[in-house]
Point group: D2
Chain length 343, copies 4
């Protein structure tokens, strides 16, 4: 059993994290903090947790947080970086579900997030929490930067190709579609049901914060800078990301299915589908799986990879729990044996 | 041709009103005002109107508004009452799509809307704009209070029964379901797609602002105070209201179908369906129709009336245009010959 | 550990049952039968179950089924009754998720379901599987008739009132709204997304198969025949039932909250919300809970009860697992400790 | 006034065509045929048309159809080709909303549609009904092949680039997303709300019937065969297509905005948005417009074009009416002055 706290539990990644932690056999949930909701029962805000989480939101209290083994930050971007150094100094391990520690370059962080980074010196020790790439380092990490949702779906779909130099890494395209929960639980016009329902649109074509993150990690995998076009779209559903990935093979398209099958053979949460498949986002609704299908087109060089995740699970809270399991030596699937909810 | 302005055109009733006015052969749209969006092209906020509305939002200007034949208020509650006296004095006729002039009793208005009424003296001359009841008075009106969406669906479903004293008016029940556009275009959490999608709930069981409006009008129709239970629900769609109405017959349930057919025989926008029907809200999506089905149950005394409208059309902007047509002597269906959009 | 088979696992109650059984610590799933899909891997039809159910659909085989401790029927109405006698004779216990054993009166069954009952002699020994009423009898039962979805939501919302004779049982009204998964996974026009999406409608006002079931059970609870008006509606979402129940108090409306709280104090899956609440269907999405709110209106006699379930869980597969737990002496919540999926 | 009939009016393109024809000032609708629904009032099947279409579905009658000026085929693929020769011989002009006359090569037709073409000799005289390319020929045509929905969105988004040889035509990518109404009104499992709702998936990656159509027309525009990757996706909404198009500039990406603006300057239904825009499918819901945004990425060679239509309007029935207007010399916008329905 480890003592765990969640800082900022009022958003969608927060409530999803609480759902998963409530089912985890090794977790003792000590606190869920929220300045705005301090004093409110967690289950009053989220009645789905009645009977599962018997805590009130509390003000962040460094002494209390400092007594935990692990603190999750499910806060907006820019919060974790203000508290991380203090908590690390107290011996607490951290998983940040926001973007504060995802980029290695503080200048780049400032460019995309609009404020200076509060603790650039910690960036070097932060481990990018994609278990399929960094499992060993995550096990030792004090500070894990949980990947973004789009970056998770895109990287898992492209990694085998990029790592093996099977494709032209200058002309990668990631056409991505997300449910609206990715936009968070804040009041807004653009994600009202009356705006986002019965509607489909692209956004951020000129640039999206997840682009530098994907670029950084794929470039590491490629051993050189990659060229990636990333176009996100808003789709009228709540959960789910579908990445449609286009790449040009440089060695013929054959054997790509086998390449993916081998790359992910031992991965508990990456499921390579049989040839010809079209994964559905709902097959991973509420589940920590990433499902991938590989299509080599008849032209002999175009590869189309389809990659789906639940943005709140493998794209956020589930991956965070997976990272926790790795960090503390638990079965990596502990608390995450949950099939997708169909229909 | 009449000169028309819309005050407050940035919400859902506003944009729907603009869509309808753009198609109306007798309307010259002179201005669309919005303090918050002044200077913005209307079609930048609502690209669906590109090519149809070539105006920028403007600051409300009493001189300009005063030069119009008709001003619509598509503003939040409490705005029209602050400008109405001035505009009426300038000879302009007004249709308020909000609630400011719906209740005859200023004290009751204050109780439900939380602020004193700004011009209680005008309440007596305001005409409640339900054409099926007040057509003659609307034609003469200077100031029309356009009915609420729920009140329109409920009244049209109950009026024939209440007017004819065919039912026990003490035990009326209106179980109503609305799409989320009824909640407006303001940023909010509760009507986010991720909150209101894949979800159904009641709200306001203890009391909703549309209850006194329905109560007032049905009591007028009955000639005595009625007893009505009104439960609104939020349903995961954008447009549409479905009222399921329960009444106990005091004269046997027979001939109720004929009663409705006769009551609405000459109404251009009330469509009584054949016996045994179940009207769908989508049959009136984008249309000004109210479709009604009448069910007399086998127990011999229970009547179930099903009444559907598009909350933004017959429940708001369409009814306002219908009232305009009546006020200015146009064909009542002018600009409103629009079948529902199916699918 | 018990040996379990599912007959007819290709529908929505089937796949939901498989999801729950896959997580149950005491269940060894031996077979999932389907004539139409025999030979197909279950996880090919339902990729969400990849890694959780490693079986192919098989032809129903009485010898194999006869070797199980428990067989679930997740078949269409009319199938279980043709196999039940044989399986019971082999010592197998049965839970039928369809309607074959819900009505005590074979003539009434034939009237509503259109075919003669195949084994009317078994009706007397079938136990209606609503644990909140029949827990003791379920524990002993060989044959459990799992309740319908609407009946579960309506009964749990009305039972405290009917059992205590607190309301006029002649004028009960159940205005119910269901997601489309209740209509099943068969190809149809009426539940296409393009038909049922962005649409709301009533159906079956003149009579629905769940009415005699509700009537039978509430009359048993009341000790006399009740008078109930039941109007089901189709709402544009996948899962969830919301029952809005109207009753007239005969003893004053006070203390009704306490009545519900006491009635369900020891029930693991009935959650009575604080006064003034409006339960959301999504709070029970994927969960076996029924959430109830009680409203006593200001008129002093009208009670409005709001009751929500997931039609596929507490309204079908979850309740079936709950019944299984009771029948085999397991913790009633075993395998059902699953919070609702929000958002 | 022209005499018009619709063959096969029970599907989604049929009902949409009827909605538009009912509003058209120059059309006398003489018949709507359907073998399966013969005798049923059109407005019984589609209550939205009550008061607008006062006809019953009838059996196809060649004498009656032969007396019309124009017959629309809103039938499944393979029907129009069996009747076209006879009707043309009777002097009737035809618009086929299905695929029978879209491909010039009968062998290719057979390959993709699985049956031999019934009248390959007519293919040469059929005019592909994309007004933005073939306006002059449409005006003279006896037989118009109305384009598919995906092909319309893709071609309008790529034509300016392909015609001007501004891009590498070997590496075009069309990542397309469609609402489910594109799949038609037939009973099916895959487009049930409970299957297609809250879900996103690709389909037909290995090959889709719209690919040869797009390929044929873009190759004509390019003057040489193009290389196009086309991936369609099903998105959980009813109406709308969003095409995200990727092309590599061969002359630098500058001035592409102007290129599109000039190409479509005189087109009544193609709306090129200001730079930086992201068109929403809902902006064209129920409207005949195609809205396009052009993005030239910072890398200096990647172009991303976003193109949206309503699949049932500009992608089917609206474009058919536009073609009719051209064929009979009416104002091209007649009956099509309908802004999108927002929200």
């Amino acid at each position: 059993m480890i003592k765990v706290a969640v800082v900022g539990g009022t958003g969608y990644t927060g409530v999803e994290l609480l759902r998963l932690l409530a089912l985890h056999p090794e977790v003792e949930l000590r606190a869920v903090t929220s300045r705005s909701e301090a004093g409110t029962q967690v289950s009053d805000l989220f009645p789905s947790l009645r009977g599962y989480v018997d805590l009130a939101f509390s003000e962040p209290d460094m002494a209390m947080l400092g007594g935990c083994d692990l603190v999750f930050f499910a806060t907006p971007n820019g919060v974790a970086m203000t508290l991380a150094a203090d908590l690390l100094a107290r011996g607490v391990r951290l998983i940040d579900l926001a973007a504060d520690f995802r980029l290695r370059d503080a200048a780049q962080w400032e460019q995309w997030y609009g404020v200076p980074h509060a603790c650039p010196d910690l960036l070097a020790q932060a481990v990018y929490g994609l278990p399929e790439v960094n499992r060993g380092r995550i096990a030792e990490a004090r500070l894990v930067a949980n990947p973004g949702c789009y970056p998770t779906a895109v990287q898992l779909g492209l990694l085998p190709l990029v790592e093996s130099a099977r494709v032209d890494t200058e002309t990668l395209i990631a056409d991505c579609k997300s449910g609206v929960s990715g936009a968070g639980r804040g009041a807004s016009v653009v994600t009202l049901l009356a705006e986002a329902g019965e509607n489909f649109k692209a956004y951020g074509v000129a640039g999206h914060r997840h682009l530098p993150e994907i670029h950084q990690e794929l470039s590491l995998a490629a051993g050189k800078p990659v060229g990636l076009t990333f176009v996100p779209h808003l789709t009228p559903m709540i959960r789910g990301i579908h990445a449609t990935l286009y790449a040009r093979s440089v060695q013929g398209a054959g054997e790509v299915q086998a390449l993916f099958a081998e790359r992910y053979a031992d991965e508990p949460f990456v499921d390579v589908l049989p040839p010809g498949s079209h994964p559905e986002t709902r097959s991973v609704k509420g589940a920590n799986d990433c499902r991938i299908a590989v299509h080599a087109l008849d032209d002999g060089h175009t590869l189309v990879i389809l990659s789906v995740i639940d943005n709140l699970v493998k794209g956020a809270a589930g991956q965070a729990v997976q990272n926790m399991n790795i960090m503390f030596g638990y079965d990596e699937r502990s608390g995450l044996r949950l099939p997708g909810l169909i229909p």
